[in-house]
């Protein structure tokens, strides 16, 4: 009772500061036996608005927060950012096996996009530079590389998820992708520091780096947005796909518990959390949830309210029917489950992108968009490409079942790349007919780089950013279809490399040839012709006759 009273006391303090912290863990059993876990920590700063960019240059109001991460708040206010989304992911999210992720931002590598209002004193591009450098410092990530060579301003995609305040100035979007950036434990440490309970109590205590970075897929995200009704919210997400079979201590089983997944239990609830819930979503099949029982059962969703449960807390899920044929079942889960479910597709839209071509001078981009729904879907196809690869838009061909269908691309906006500079941005609205696959092909030209522009591991090639597909939902046909944005995996492109050891040799040899021709030409042009009498062969032959 005393503890409860203490908690209530704290809540009262929290409410007084108009801040609210909620933590949430969503566990989902996937078709292939893996478990997707989404840790979500939301801090709400109530009844506040983002800093107006018009006030940049003036002294900012003092910042005092109890729960809201100060380090992040300072960055947001310094650059007057209204909305920002940062994700750092490692691996390829397999939509065909795992379905839609809970947090849709699953681009391989780093993705950063921000909405900022225009300011008369400091330009958006300068603040964007400041923002990415600040976030790079805050999260120990190479976000500084998200420079002008990676930054685009999409027109139709990446609309704000929250609201944009009216500052009497227009808001602009900056978006950048860096597929070669990988999330690792040095990014998690600063991430955890932004949480009020760190990893000592509450759901965050399950954030065990040994398990999270060992997962088949893992990524972290920071989403800051503003809602005029509630205020500024900061959502810190950690999403991961774990394989319980690999960590199973009792033979090869798909059973899992918090202990087997994370090698941790929740020692006690986070006292400042207004809400602390663990959801376990079980799609189908015979399973038991072993001790403790869920607080609330909503259909296939079992809800556990952490403060109400005995500590330390561990939640275990078992498949009792599996006991007889353990290993075979695992195989069946890993390999045969998707095949047996061919009729039910995990996602409504499926996308595939490949780059073909054997030479290092040009290639062909193939994109396939498959619609599993019974109605046509309009999809925004967003392609941001560094100048390393140049598109020949005039070669863009669309076909369905081998028949050319150029009409499927309704309209597009295109901003060409600039050599050694900004990237290309292509946004096209593509109609995908019901139950069919649209194939898109495009010739691409691979660029030739200066020797100083190559990466240290030049022969490895370059990671090209993922393409993004955003289905357009029209409100008229609300038939409960889930349409969320999809990312294709990153593509590796092999660019021609010069010889890195030869700059001096090339300068010397080219200069020699030029000097030789220059010298010969001016030799001929400047010297006078003279006539020399040639000695007759009869006189010279005797002297050289022995040769």
């Amino acid at each position: 009772m005393k503890l409860l009273a203490f908690c209530f006391g704290l809540f009262a303090v929290v409410r007084a500061h108009d801040e609210e912290f909620r933590e949430h863990l969503h566990l989902r059993h996937l078709d292939d036996g893996r478990v997707s876990a989404l840790f979500s920590f939301t801090t709400l700063l109530k009844d506040t608005a983002p800093r107006s960019p018009l006030s940049i240059g003036e002294d900012d109001i003092p910042q005092h927060y109890t729960l809201f991460p100060l380090a992040l708040g300072q960055v947001l206010r310094e650059h007057a950012v209204t909305e920002v989304h940062l994700t750092l992911n490692a691996g390829k999210w397999d939509y065909t096996r795992w379905g839609y992720p809970e947090d849709p931002a699953v681009a391989t590598g780093a993705e950063l996009w921000a909405w900022m209002g225009e300011s008369p004193s400091i330009s958006i591009d300068e603040r964007w530079k400041g923002l990415r450098n600040s976030l790079a410092g805050l999260f120990c990530a190479s976000l500084g590389s998200l420079d002008e060579m990676r930054t685009t301003s999409p027109m139709y995609s990446f609309r704000p998820e929250g609201s944009l305040p009216l500052f009497n100035q227009t808001h602009k979007l900056r978006h950048a992708l860096l597929p070669s950036e990988h999330v690792c434990t040095e990014n998690l440490t600063p991430f955890v520091k932004l949480l009020p309970c760190k990893t000592s109590t509450g759901i965050a205590s399950l954030l065990n780096p040994h398990r999270l970075f060992d997962a088949d897929w893992h990524g972290m995200g920071v989403h800051v947005k503003w809602d005029p009704k509630t205020g500024i919210s900061v959502q810190l997400n950690f999403q991961t796909v774990l394989d319980p079979v690999r960590h199973s201590s009792r033979g090869q089983r798909v059973d899992f518990s918090l202990k087997t997944l994370f090698d941790r239990e929740i020692p006690k609830a986070c006292p400042v959390a207004a809400d602390s819930v663990i959801d376990v979503f079980m799609a189908e099949g015979e399973y038991n949830i072993v001790a403790p029982g869920p607080s609330i059962m909503e259909g296939e969703l079992a809800k556990f309210i952490v403060p109400e449960l005995p500590m330390p807390l561990d939640i275990a899920v078992r498949w009792p029917g599996e006991a007889s044929n353990l290993f075979m079942n695992v195989l069946q889960y890993s390999n045969h489950a998707p095949a047996s479910k061919q009729n039910s597709h995990p996602t409504n839209i499926e996308v595939l992108r490949t780059l073909t071509g054997a030479t290092q001078s040009y290639g062909k981009l193939h994109v396939e968009v498959k619609n599993n729904l019974d109605s046509d879907v309009d999809v925004i196809y967003v392609e941001t490409m560094p100048w390393l690869v140049q598109f020949y838009i005039h070669t863009l061909k669309l076909s369905v079942d081998g028949k050319e269908r150029q009409d499927l691309l309704k309209h597009f906006s295109y901003k060409p790349s600039e050599a050694h500079g900004r990237p290309m941005l292509f946004e096209g609205v593509l109609t995908v007919p019901a139950k069919s696959t649209v194939r898109l092909t495009l010739d691409v030209l691979k660029s030739f780089l200066r020797y100083t522009e190559h990466q240290p591991d030049a022969q490895r090639g370059w990671d090209l950013p993922p393409a993004v597909f955003i289905p357009i939902t029209n409100n008229n046909s609300s038939e409960g279809r889930i349409l969320r944005r999809l990312y294709t995996p990153a593509v590796l492109v092999d660019l021609a490399t010069p010889d890195f050891s030869m700059p001096y040799n090339v300068i010397i040899m080219s200069s020699t040839l030029i000097a030789l021709i220059f010298g010969s030409v001016f030799n001929l042009l400047t010297r006078k012709f003279v006539a020399l009498p040639v000695e007759g062969p009869s006189e010279s032959e005797p002297s050289t006759g022995t040769k």
Binding site: L513, F529, P533
Partner: protein, 402 residues
Amino acid sequence: MAYAIPAAIAGRFLLSFTSIYDSLKYDHLLTSPLTSYPRLQEGVFLYKHGIDPYSGGGFYHSPLLLSLFSTVLPQYSPIPQLLWASCDIISAYSLAQIWRLRSKDETGRRDGRIAGSYLLNPYLFLPSLALSTSSLENALFLTAIVFACRGKTVPSLFTLALLSHLSLPSVLFLPPFVMLLHVSPTSALASATKESTLRLGSSIKSFFIFAICMSFASVCNLITTGGWDWVYRTWGTGLLLPDLSPNTGLWWYFFTEMFDHFRPYFLMVFSVHLLIYVAPVCMKFKHDPLFAIFILQGLLAIFKPYPTLSDPGLFLSMISVFPEIFPYLRHPIVTALLHLHASLLLPLFHSLWLAQGTGNANFFYASTLVFGMANGAAVTDCMWAGLRVAFGQKDGVEYVQE
């Protein structure tokens, strides 16, 4: 022989209907970024879709070509192929005309051989099959010479202005063209002391006409594109070398390997280097400006920023107009062997580096050096022979330079 040229022309047109273009269109030897047809198509596509093709991307063609292909000429195969074939025929015809005007030979006995040297030159017809716009440039260049030989100032200088818009280094041909307009195109190599009929007043007038033609084309470009971005994208590309695609020239690998802090300096050196040759060559061959144009063309083919095979190819074909120098060539065999060597090495090493992946960039770079050597040998040999002609053959006397 009588049927050879009609057969070559017919064959050239027949090739337009094959799909050979598709396998050559991205070839670095035949097309440079400034002359590549797919890039032109991309620019026309963007222009038709309301996107400024000069706002970025790899489009470096002149707005003249942009307006030509976006309005008059359809791009459907085989229309461009037929246009390129026609350009080849025009070039070959112009080359034969130049010979007639130079030799005062109206019988046309050597016409077949002259036209054949253009139509059957692999350095020329392969870029043409790849629809490299350098074939159009060659046609403009030879047409401008024909006009100049006939003393038609405005058509000649207007054609040269168009050529300069397509390829900026061609502006260096202006001084010898002005000289050619005022001097007979007949061979004066053997009588080097012939008095020049060039007058200052008329020369200045010619320069002025050229400036008007250039401005006129620029204003057309301004109206087409609605801005001056094309200047940076077309002429600026030749000076700043943003695209480092391999070609047969000397610039691309030099600036791939160049240290960043020396890049602007060496770009300046390479550009200024092109200017150096104009005055001395014009002064030395002031009695025969057509020969000066020929020598300058050879030098530009070696040293220009984005050459294709058709630049040195044009020089080699133009040799046929100057048969009087043949007896005085010092090392034609060496030059021919160097060219044979380079023409085998270039495609081979290009493929080894970029397609097979078994060779590296140095292989191809080395073969461009051999090719540069071959072109240098050809130009210096022709230059020597052009100077040596003046002294004729005399028994017991050998002419050397002191």
